[in-house]
């Protein structure tokens, strides 16, 4: 099945702006666990090449493969926001969801051995803390459609104004 990511918002990273500072990981781990431990972050910075750096978090796929893959029905998807909720009572840390995720966005908490995933800080009024903290505004909570619209506008401006 083809994974689609067209409908819901998620935290995206612009690799042109990302500098690899990891501050998103610090704020995420602190918000979610109360300690500074980038190893526990639900958003992950990646340095794939010397100058190719970006960050990845849950992409709130439609028909999320992680939800389908879960053998214990521990994962559910919020119909309105697309956020994946993990029921800690049901999850047994089997990691099928991790295998199913095309984006490597799920991890197992080394202490509890249960799955963890970005929830866009949905319980906080000001939204995802990583977006708030990113010093280069590389992170954004947005949908692919919104990104595409902006790309088209930028292109049009560049074409017309040459700027």
């Amino acid at each position: 099945m083809v994974t689609s990511t067209s409908k819901y918002k998620y935290v995206t990273c612009d690799p042109e702006l990302c500098i690899g500072c990891q501050l998103c990981e610090y704020i995420c781990s602190y918000t979610k666990t109360g300690e500074y431990n980038t190893y526990r972050s639900r958003i992950r910075t990646i340095r794939a090449e010397e100058i190719l750096i970006t960050a990845v978090a849950c992409r709130t796929c439609e028909n999320a493969p992680c939800v389908i893959a879960c053998t214990r029905d521990a994962l559910t998807q919020d119909a309105e926001t697309g956020i994946i909720h993990i029921n800690a009572e049901r999850c047994d840390g089997c990691a099928w969801c991790i295998e199913a995720c095309d984006f490597g966005a799920i991890s197992i908490n080394p202490a509890t051995k249960l799955a963890e995933i970005c929830d866009q800080c949905e319980d906080l009024e000001e939204g995802p803390q990583c977006v708030k903290w990113c010093p280069k505004d590389a992170l954004e909570l947005t949908t692919p459609d919104q990104r595409a619209q902006r790309a088209r506008r930028k292109l049009a401006k560049e074409d017309v104004l040459g700027a």
Binding site: I19, E35, I53
Partner: protein, 628 residues
Amino acid sequence: MYGYSGKILHIDLSTRKTWIEEKPETWYQMYIGGVSMAARLLWENIEVGCDPLSPGNPICIANGIFAGTPVPVGGKYGLASKSPLTGLIGDSLSGSWFSVALKRTGWDGLVIHGVSDKWITIFIDDERVQFRDAKKLLGLGTYATEEAIREDLGDDQVRSATIGPAGENGVFFANVTNDGRQAGRTGHGAVWGSKKLKAISVRGTKGVVVADPDTLMQMSFDISDTSQGPYTVKYRMLGTATNVLNMNKLGLLPTRNYQEGTFEDAELVSGEYLEEHYKVKKIACAQCPIACEQMSAAPDGPFKGAMTGIEYECLYANGPNLGINDLRAVIKLIETCDQGGMDAMSGGVTVSWAMETFERGIFKKEDFKCAKYPEGFEPNFGNAEAAVTLMQMIRDREGIGDLLSKGTRRASAIVDAERGTETYKWAMNSKGLESPGYDARGLKTFSVGIAVGTRGGCHNRSAAYDPDIQGEVNRFSIDDTRGKLAASSEEYAAVYDTLPLCKFIRRCFTGKADRAGAWPAIAKLINATTGWNFGYDDVELIGIRAHTIKKAFNIREGWKRADDDLPYRWKHDPMTKGASAGHVVTDEELEYLKDLYYAAKGWTLEGLIPKAKLIELGMDDVAEQIGV
């Protein structure tokens, strides 16, 4: 204890044994971290008088107090060994992911003793230590080594500090490199190589626990926010390469081995030109919102495909200093150093010494025979291909590269002894460490700062060029304020090098970089991390102690007043062109400045430290050994 684990991990490569040393909180309050703690660990663990490349010289790593927390630019560690280049203290700093991952393993510091019987890497996996065969890694560049280790261990979160071929081959100014950042200058790579240690890898999964995380978080956010404003614009936009045109205007841009201080093609090697033509990406260390690393690549020409981070010091050394006006060649030269794992400043200044020695007719074409040019070649200033070939020969210690790999002080001494020449007159180093990109002939306050530097000719440990360049004093003359200015500058720098915080953040606390602007904020950060009750004076003491322990180390290793010196050229050969033409620092001037400096430090006229001074700093055991 908050912010620290209280534990130092010792590893003996000869016996493959490890042990844990617990340190009391009072010890941490004195030495904090970074270069100060690393220097203190070296003080405690070295065999006094040992050969720097012998098993008795330990590798001492001390993490930063803020590593692994969100405090901007606090992801740094200090590294200390006895320097093969200077025979005195070798203390370096590096930043980024290695430091943060090490913090999460729960070790505040590492001390590596002995020598391995075969090439290995050490893998510190939280509290576990593994020795791994490094045969497959030999010959790999620094970044390739890190990637190969990650691949081998199957975890992207493994971070490594490595040496490149230069360290394996024992180049005296080889570096230790992690995450593309260098612990540079004093030849740590050669020390690691002498122990057959290719890399230290770390994987840390533990959280960092601090006393007041909410306060630390808020302060960090505010500093990070401020750091996106005007106070760091220089570093974020053009990077330190912006200095090229400024230094050229002041007549201080080392050109053709410091023969002159202005370069006719400065525009072509400027930060502005780099930005417009060759910049490909700006990168940050872990935990840093500034991102000063200006990744640049050569898109065409004979060095097409070369890519590395460019900053001012490496740029002057391999550009104007070699008479090279093509940034693509400069990128290639610096890449050769960075991936080969050697110091691009010492590398550039050593190549420039060789070029001048050739142009003066002492070296001949046939001295430069190598596999690539069996008949030799002619390394005139401006010959980029020759410079790159020479740099590779140094890395591999091929042909004359073997001589040059020993640095300018030793290389000139060897040549002068063999050929009866005086090449030392253009060997640009202090205490054996090659000079930086600020010509001290036109910076008289800086001239004493650099002469007395504990690790030799270094602009990072003394920022005494500041009052000169800012016009607070007349940069061409001397007066009785200069000793105090130099002492104050190095103690100020030592605070940042000990925490460590990158100095690029210095204006982001209150807008003012001076002590009054920064120390109260730094005290607050320390207190939120540790739960201590530090104030302004305690922060000031951090720098004084850091500098004192390094100086004490040098004294114990036999340092003498005469060692505080400047390169011959700066004392005798005035430049003929530019805004600093006609000036030198005479021996009389230098000796007077040293008198002033020692007095400002409260030391004896011979530069030794009185017992009472050391006891005042709580360093009683140091007083016993070297106090007078």
